[in-house]
């Protein structure tokens, strides 16, 4: 049973089409992340689902109910905002209970729900404080709590961790994941941070220009990006692209006189045919050292720049006339100017059509 369905959703701001015929099905209990660069329409989509924006066309169903014309509060959702949007003049308890009081929920019930939310989020000691006296992380927890007490099936998160510093963000990310496991609610989560997306999501919807590029599990998105944009957007450091063409046989990719064997590539759309294309190789796919010989593709390179990251080391070089970076173990002792032999399997990479940029 799907919990949230978006059908042909279109949104125009005047003459500008912000969202274009979007279709998304979100399963009950699923954690869906809307990922994209700023301005891609991900927050707009979330606001449409919440009912905070009037849509131009299409339908929205939540819990099997058509809620397209319903007020946000009637849709059975809870929402958490980037700026927390806590009511600054009320205590934490007041923040949590204000909406319930307004909905005339009986007092004991309010107390029960607040207590439960506070327990889940471990904010019991903070209940009497004002938001101004809380840290960023605590505020965000309260904001989540406010969604929690509403006792709804769908949670909407609008970049909830963006205002926090890196360390806190990582901690809260874990907590969010735990929370999801515990509650098993449907969650729709907007972020521009791919680490959050990868770690949290059951499925990621990558958006660009108001259109969903790919909606799939994190590993699918990572390993089989549906187009060049997704490939470039996901993964850090960024994927390497070679510009070239697939040879007649479909067994080789040629870029600047360098040949990449494609034996074993699982083509998405039938057989590979000769055409101009991009070959994308993840920096993590590169192998050095003794195992190199077994790789379908090997090459000698000169190290140009070394970036030690602790756990691993990033090497910058040039391959087939293109800037190329790959990852080595953090223990590797390499210096600029060193010669190295590297190898990888191009068939594990991704091929994109030159003109459509779609995955082949």
């Amino acid at each position: 049973m799907t919990n949230v369905t978006v059908k042909d959703l279109t949104l125009d701001f005047g003459a500008v089409r912000v969202l274009d015929k979007l279709n998304i099905d979100i399963q009950e209990g699923e954690f869906l992340v809307l990922l994209g660069a700023s301005g891609c329409g991900k927050s707009t989509l979330l606001n449409c689902i919440a009912g905070l924006l009037d849509i131009s066309d299409g339908e929205i169903h939540i819990g099997g109910r058509n809620v397209t014309w319903e007020e946000p509060s009637e849709r059975g959702i809870g929402m958490v905002f980037q700026s927390y949007a806590l009511y600054p003049q009320m205590s934490v308890e007041g923040n949590l209970s204000f909406g319930l009081k307004n909905a005339r929920v009986p007092k004991p019930e309010i107390a029960k729900r607040v207590a439960r939310a506070a327990e889940i989020l471990q904010i019991e000691p903070l209940l009497k404080r004002k938001p101004a006296a809380l840290s960023g992380g605590q505020r965000q927890r309260v904001a989540i709590g406010r969604a929690l007490v509403r006792d709804v099936d769908v949670f909407l998160f609008d970049e909830p961790l963006s205002n926090l510093d890196a360390k806190l963000r990582a901690d809260l990310r874990v907590e969010l994941k735990l929370l999801h496991q515990k509650l098993d609610n449907t969650m729709i989560y907007v972020t521009h941070d791919q680490v959050e997306a990868m770690t949290l999501a059951d499925r990621i919807a990558i958006m660009r220009g108001g259109v969903v590029q790919q909606i799939a599990s994190p590993s699918e998105v990572y390993n089989h990006p549906s187009n060049k944009y997704v490939a470039g957007f996901i993964g850090s450091p960024t994927i390497n692209f070679f510009e070239g063409s697939i040879m007649d046989s479909g067994g080789e990719f040629l870029s600047a006189d360098m040949r990449f064997p494609l034996t074993g590539y699982e083509a998405t759309q039938g057989a590979l045919t000769a055409r101009p294309a991009w070959l994308g190789i993840r920096p993590e796919a590169v192998i050095t050292g003794t195992d190199v010989a077994q790789q379908p593709f090997t090459s000698d390179i000169i190290v140009e720049l070394v970036e030690p990251m602790g756990s691993d080391t990033l090497i910058y070089t040039t391959l087939a006339g293109t800037a190329f970076r790959f990852r080595m173990s953090g223990k590797a002792t390499v210096a600029a100017g060193d010669a190295l032999t590297i190898g990888f399997d191009p068939a594990q990479g991704s091929l994109f059509d030159k003109s459509t940029e779609n995955r082949l």
């Binding site: 009037d54 849509i55 131009s56 066309d57 299409g58 339908e59 109910r65 058509n66 809620v67 397209t68 014309w69 319903e70 007020e71 009637e74």
Partner: protein, 313 residues
């Protein structure tokens, strides 16, 4: 809660159909409309009255539009209305006001912007105390200070005369009034600039100091260009404020140099026979024209400026 969904079995799709005439909207626009009438009525009455002849006015409806439009009241108000034996209307006051306005605005803003700048970025021991006194000063009724200022101006005039060897009078001259406007404009303007400069990222200031820039260099080369919007606001506030001033104009100038508001009051109160309401209203409109033009021309800047200045206070 879910009753809100479809009435006639239509599947909700696309934009929620909204009735234009919801009670909320009627209330909203109704209130705005009524308020607009209240705010526009005087303007309407001013215009209408100023375009009527006296016989029509005596018929006695301030709201009825003029049957015969005449511009004579305007001509009279501008060029012929009498105070005593001077019958040159408001025109003289207009030029006086311009002459008072320009130096007053320039000097008061120059000084206040430097104050604000020094108070927010170059705090020194006691600077906050002076600022506090200044702000309190904004609340001191002018009446408390007028008389001593008269004396102060007289004495400073004499001191200046002694120093320069030529006769300088501050009292009754335009410069005396400029000083008074500068003094009484100082609290609010200084506050405005202080708040604005306080919102400038401190790093910018620190970077400039590390680069070896001094007080004036930072002011002129970095802060001044950045503060342009707030200067526009200050100018708007001061132009309207000084143009509209009556109390200082009446006490610190003389008939030669009376600003327009004072002359307006003179003309309106110089009743010869019957009150010529149409001329009075034309004179009133003429006097209000300059600030109104400034206001309509600056439009959003005026609003944005007030927002920037006042909200932080």
């Amino acid at each position: 809660m879910t009753d809100a969904t479809p009435v006639s079995g239509v599947t909700p799709r696309g934009t929620k159909p909204r009735k234009r005439l919801t009670p909320t909207n009627i209330m909203l626009y109704g209130t705005l409309f009524v308020a607009s009438v209240y705010y526009l009525l005087p303007l309407y009455v001013m215009v209408v009255t100023s375009l009527k002849g006296m016989p029509e006015i005596r018929l006695g409806n301030v709201f009825s539009p003029p049957v015969e439009v005449t511009f004579e009241p305007w001509v009279k108000a501008w060029a012929q209305a009498c105070t005593g034996i001077n019958c040159d209307g408001l025109s003289r006051g207009f030029w006086n006001s311009v002459q008072i306005l320009v130096p007053s605005v320039v000097i008061s803003i120059a000084i206040a912007s430097i104050n604000g700048y020094a108070l927010s970025l170059w705090k020194f021991k006691g600077s906050e105390v002076f600022f506090t006194i200044l702000i309190f000063g904004a609340f001191i009724p002018y009446q408390v200070m007028i008389y001593p200022i008269v004396i102060l101006l007289r004495e400073s005039g004499e001191v200046l005369s002694a120093i320069t060897g030529t006769k300088i009078r501050l009292m009754g001259s335009i410069w005396g009034l400029v000083i008074v406007h500068t003094i009484f404009g100082m609290p609010i303007l200084t506050l405005l600039f202080r708040n604005y400069f306080a919102s400038v990222p401190e790093e910018l200031f620190k970077a400039a100091r590390v680069d070896g820039a001094g007080f004036w260099q930072i002011y002129f080369q970095i802060m001044l260009p950045m503060a342009l919007p707030i200067f526009v606001v200050a100018i708007i506030l001061q132009v309207t404020g000084i143009w509209n001033d009556f109390l200082f104009g009446v006490i610190f100038t003389k008939p030669d140099t009376y600003p327009m508001t004072v002359q307006l009051n003179n003309i309106v109160n110089s009743v010869q026979g019957v009150k010529e309401y149409n001329v009075n209203m034309a004179a009133t409109m003429l006097t209000g024209l300059v600030p109104l033009i400034i206001y309509f021309a600056s439009g959003k800047l005026f609003v944005r400026g007030i927002a920037a200045g006042a909200v932080k206070g």
